[in-house]
Amino acid sequence: MTTAPDPAPTEPKATPTRPGRRRRRTRVPTAALLVAPSVLFLAALFLWPIVVGVGQAVTGTDGPTLAHLRRMLDDPYFWQATRNTALLIVVLIPLQFAFALTMALLLRERPRLSSFYFYVWCVPLAISDLAAGLVWLSIFADRGYLNSVLAHLGLGDGYAWLSYDNDATMFLAVLLAELWRATSLVLVIVVAGLQNIPRDYDEAAAVFGATYWQRLRHVILPQLRPSLQVALILRTILGLQTFAVAQALTGRSFPLLVGETYQWYVTLQNERVSAAIALVILLMSLGTAVVYLRVLRDPAATGSGR
């Protein structure tokens, strides 16, 4: 450019001296005010008991002690409970996910009466594990409905499904009751996840010639990943908390970890061992959540902001 003509007159240019930077009206105070009560409340009911619980577990009448932890570890019930809890989770969760996925895919086909089905399948959502145990007790009790049916059919008159002699059937009863009660939660999460998958994807895959199973494997399941992940973490941690089902069905014949906290606290009146077991469960839950989040991290989701 050899010459510098004036630019066309636009708005009057900003004067270099700006009015002093105004105090920015931020919304932080309002938001903090709204959030603070819940934070304080949760901290009080969460962090405080943890501190107290650790104190309970590692101190005795005269200073710090490992006696309670030792007593916990020396108790055969503790190891049995740990084994049962682990076994229940390992066997139950794959079954539950397969079952819930099947149910969700059935509903996706929109059969007639599907809203009725959905209602019935969701009822256990609001049923506690104690109630579920009692419901299945009516079936598995020695003089319960299962044996009655068998008797009606002339297939023997009574098998002690829940007796401590019959480890396998006892486990089976607890497993069935839990499958019945807790699959609804997975179902609801999966159904919600399926609803968020646009049907276009599925239809596009169908147009390009994918069979149902190919679509399921390559289109639907990958899209469901976040939902399944959430359900998995939630179910595992809730699985760790199961106890009243077993209590209702078998008493202490099939001990579970949380049941042991209850036993030590209520029946054996030893809050220190009870607190120790509670902390073990807490640590296990935390560990599970961390492991899941690491292992299941979606490679496509990392690095994307919010």
Binding site: M1, P5, D6, T10, E11, P19, R25
Partner: protein, 363 residues
């Protein structure tokens, strides 16, 4: 009634680096209809929301009717607004929706009824007053939003893309109606749109925004005819202004514009720039198209022919560049044919290639 004065408004949203509005100053006269237009992300909605009090500026001030309202909440600014999504409350009947502003001001019941009735009449909503919004069509909801905005007799009326959710036909129709209603009320109005046709047809003045700054402000025809820079020329008008690189030549004591290996008469303003490279801007309708050569005509080749009903839009190739030109509907030509173009030098706008600002007759 009130005028609006905006001074040095700067707003940067948290988490972003570039400001949404970068030191904008504007004045809207009492009773004026000002349109803020620009591509998405240019800061027009932010500016409107700062006038409304829904967004606080980082610095700068907003005055309405001579009163500094920068720190006042929206409800105390004495304005009303039509939202892009209408923001008609679904749990209230049409009547309650329209009356909301009056009810908040504790207007007597009889007065509310009267004014709601009038507003409803004006917008042909009388028979829908007892319906819920869910029972209305999109166009009717739009009318409710407008009725709600005008019923309060506010000093300032703000509209945020009020027509963008309507289909093309309704949009045209309601645009006319809106102009009629607002013209009758005479309220100071600030109207945001990304639709340049809307901006040109509605505004007393148009402010074109780009990247948080005002690129040009003026009456619609002035902004359309003499865009202050290439951006404004390219944004306003359909088809957008054509831009061609050219060089200023001097022959026989008169300046000529050399485009490729052809030349045409240059506007007077270019007399001071012999030998310079310039960018020439010309609107499609300002190019005359001929099927034969003549004096001062530029040869070009037709690439695409698009009849639009009222005219024929031709895409032609000139000196390696594509140009949109307009021919009368009777003009018969096919792709590949040669055409000759003539331009009135006074209709040409020239820009500095370096910063694409307009070259004007300087004193």
């Amino acid at each position: 009634m009130a005028e609006i004065v905006l001074r040095n408004l700067v707003k940067t949203y948290p988490g972003t680096r570039t400001p949404a509005t970068d030191d904008i100053s504007l004045e809207v006269r009492d009773g004026e209809f000002l349109v803020l237009v620009g591509p998405s992300g240019c800061g027009k909605t932010t500016l409107l929301r700062m006038i409304a009090g829904l967004e606080a500026p980082d610095s700068g001030s907003v005055q309405i009717g001579g009163r500094d309202v920068t720190d006042l909440p929206a409800r105390l600014r004495g304005l009303s607004m039509v939202f892009q999504s209408y923001a008609i409350w679904p749990h209230m009947r049409v009547r309650q929706n329209i009356a909301f502003g009056l009810a908040m001001r504790k207007t007597p019941k009889a007065e509310i009824d009267r004014r709601v009735g009038e507003a409803a009449e004006l917008l042909h909503l009388s028979e829908y007053l007892d319906r819920y919004p869910a029972q209305l069509s999109g166009g009717q909801r739009q009318r409710v939003a407008v009725a709600r905005a005008i019923v309060t007799d506010a000093d300032v009326l703000l509209m945020d893309e009020p027509l963008s959710n309507l289909d093309a036909l309704l949009r045209m129709e309601f645009r006319t109606e809106l102009k009629r209603i607002v013209g009758k009320l005479g309220t100071t109005t600030v109207y945001v749109t990304h639709d340049q046709a809307e901006a040109l047809s509605l505004g007393d003045r148009v402010a074109v925004l780009r990247d948080g700054r005002v690129a040009q402000v003026g009456p619609p025809l002035e902004v359309y005819d003499s865009p202050a820079d290439e951006f404004v020329g390219g944004f306003l008008g359909a088809p957008p202004m054509n831009f061609l690189p050219a060089r200023v030549d001097r022959a026989d004591g008169r300046s000529r514009l050399r485009i490729g290996d052809q030349s045409t008469a240059a506007p007077v303003a270019l007399g001071d720039y012999p030998g310079d490279e310039v960018t020439v801007g010309v609107r499609a309708e300002n190019v005359e198209v001929f099927d034969a050569d003549g004096p001062d005509r530029l040869a070009a080749r037709v690439e695409v022919v698009e009849p639009t009903g009222a005219a024929i839009l031709l895409t032609v190739e000139l000196a390696g560049r594509q140009l949109k030109v307009q021919a009368p509907p009777t003009f018969r030509i096919g792709p590949g044919s040669p055409v000759w173009l003539a331009v009135d030098p006074d209709r040409l706008r020239c820009y500095h290639p370096a910063d694409s600002t307009a070259i004007t007759v300087s004193g």
